[in-house]
């Protein structure tokens, strides 16, 4: 039984960290990400009877997080197509800059992920950060698996173009290191 306890505590601690990382990757606002995770866990507590299979905890929490974010944006802007949310919500005036250091590279990748439409950003980060299967992502975001694949494909193509293909030209832009995510 102690083994079960330890496993659960490990799992839940991991869930919290993973949810925060995911929430941050979706909204790029540490304060908002924290609020979303708080709301997610409170909703989860409220609806925990819905989770029949503890093995599905991660997917279940991710789907609640996705709903929390959608609700947040709905409150922010009535009637909005989640797939259209991009710079309007995560606007910034960042231009590609040289990745001289890993911190700069991190900032640049985050900025480019932030420029993706939210639907693409969610699929990309669920797959790459959470290691979700395509089927899990489809379930979490309630979209067909074909949509998962096409969003993922478009997201990666865009990132590849902006981060890899455009790198030599942008490497000279030393003055554009500041990343500003507008809340």
């Amino acid at each position: 039984m102690f083994g079960v306890q330890a496993a659960m505590r490990r799992e839940t601690a991991r869930s919290r960290e993973a949810l925060y990382r995911l929430a941050y990757a979706w909204c790029h606002d540490a304060g908002l990400a924290d609020d979303l995770v708080q709301e997610t866990l409170l909703r989860a507590l409220d609806r925990s009877e819905q989770l029949r299979d503890p093995a599905r905890l991660k997917s279940w929490l991710c789907s609640i997080l996705a709903n929390c974010l959608r609700d947040h944006y709905r409150r922010l802007r009535a009637c909005v197509d989640i797939d259209e949310l991009d710079e309007a919500v995560l606007g910034h005036d960042q231009t590609p800059e040289a990745a001289h250091t890993s911190a700069q590279l991190v900032a640049r990748v985050r900025a480019e992920v932030g420029r993706l439409p939210l639907g693409q950003r969610q699929v990309l980060t669920l797959v790459d950060l959470e290691g979700c299967s395509y089927a899990e992502v489809a379930e979490i975001l309630t979209v067909p698996i074909g949509t998962v694949m096409s969003r993922l494909c478009r997201a990666r193509a865009t990132l590849k173009e902006r981060l890899l293909d455009a790198a030599p030209e942008s490497a000279r832009r030393d003055d554009a290191n500041k990343i500003r995510i507008v809340r």
Binding site: R21, G31, L41, L45, D46, R75, V113, D128, L152, L159
Partner: protein
């Protein structure tokens, strides 16, 4: 997009993510052995995947997190997990520092159905009907308890848009709350400081109703109460 092979970009991604079946895997691996352009595409996808993983390996810390925060998060997540599991796991699986009874979880219960002596009522919506029902329930439970000489404590914890209930400038029921407070000393009102901070960041001057206390976050307060054996009810 290269056309000499029939490996679509979707399939290239699926290959990198381990999402192709054995037959497709073999077919794509075969193409990769022969097609340098395809190799470059797949390599690019892998690089992008690595970059994305690296970019969020250490997300920035959220502002103002207390030292106990992590443990409390784990505690509430444990509550979710445990209460979703088979009932027999409940007592055995809870961490020692989370002394929560089965009744405390009060799954989906309304305030009137909870038999606990201490109840935390979580308000996170500004829907007028919900707030009205919540106050009706609070009043009814407090009145019934007083009539029967039953000991009860109720704490209303408000965050997110639910904070409107406890704000002097937005509360739809300020007089009613003042009257409840005057009548029942066993009713406490707690506002989430994190919500207040976020409003202030947006330039909103937040004034709370008289007698409203505050807690660092609603979640901290709720978990503290759960750990103390209170029941949780959501408005």
């Amino acid at each position: 997009m290269k056309t000499e092979h029939d490996v679509s970009r979707e399939m290239q991604s699926a290959y990198v993510d381990g999402e192709v079946d054995q037959a497709d895997w073999g077919r794509i691996a075969g193409h990769l052995g022969r097609d340098e352009a395809l190799r470059a595409e797949v390599c690019g996808i892998r690089t992008v995947k690595d970059l994305v993983q690296g970019a969020y390996a250490v997300p920035p810390q959220a502002p103002r997190r207390g030292a106990a925060g992590g443990r409390r998060w784990a505690a509430i997540a444990a509550l979710c997990l445990v209460s979703a599991s088979a009932g027999w796991l409940l007592h055995a699986a809870l961490a020692p520092d989370v002394s929560v009874t089965e009744a405390a979880l009060a799954e989906g219960a309304s305030l009137r159905e909870v038999s606990n002596e201490r109840v935390v009522l979580h308000v996170s919506t500004s829907r007028r009907e919900t707030l009205q029902t919540a106050l009706d329930d609070v009043e009814e439970v407090l009145r019934a308890a007083a009539r029967r000489g039953r000991r009860i404590e109720i704490e209303i914890v408000a965050n997110s848009s639910g904070l409107e209930l406890l704000r002097a400038d937005t509360s739809p029921f300020p007089a009613r709350i003042a009257s409840l407070r005057a009548q029942y000393s066993n009713l406490t009102l707690v506002a989430c400081n994190q919500t207040i901070d976020r409003l202030r960041e947006k330039g909103v001057m937040v004034r709370l109703l008289p007698g409203v206390q505050s807690a660092p976050t609603a979640l901290d307060q709720i978990v503290k109460r759960l750990q103390g054996g209170w029941a949780y009810v959501r408005a």
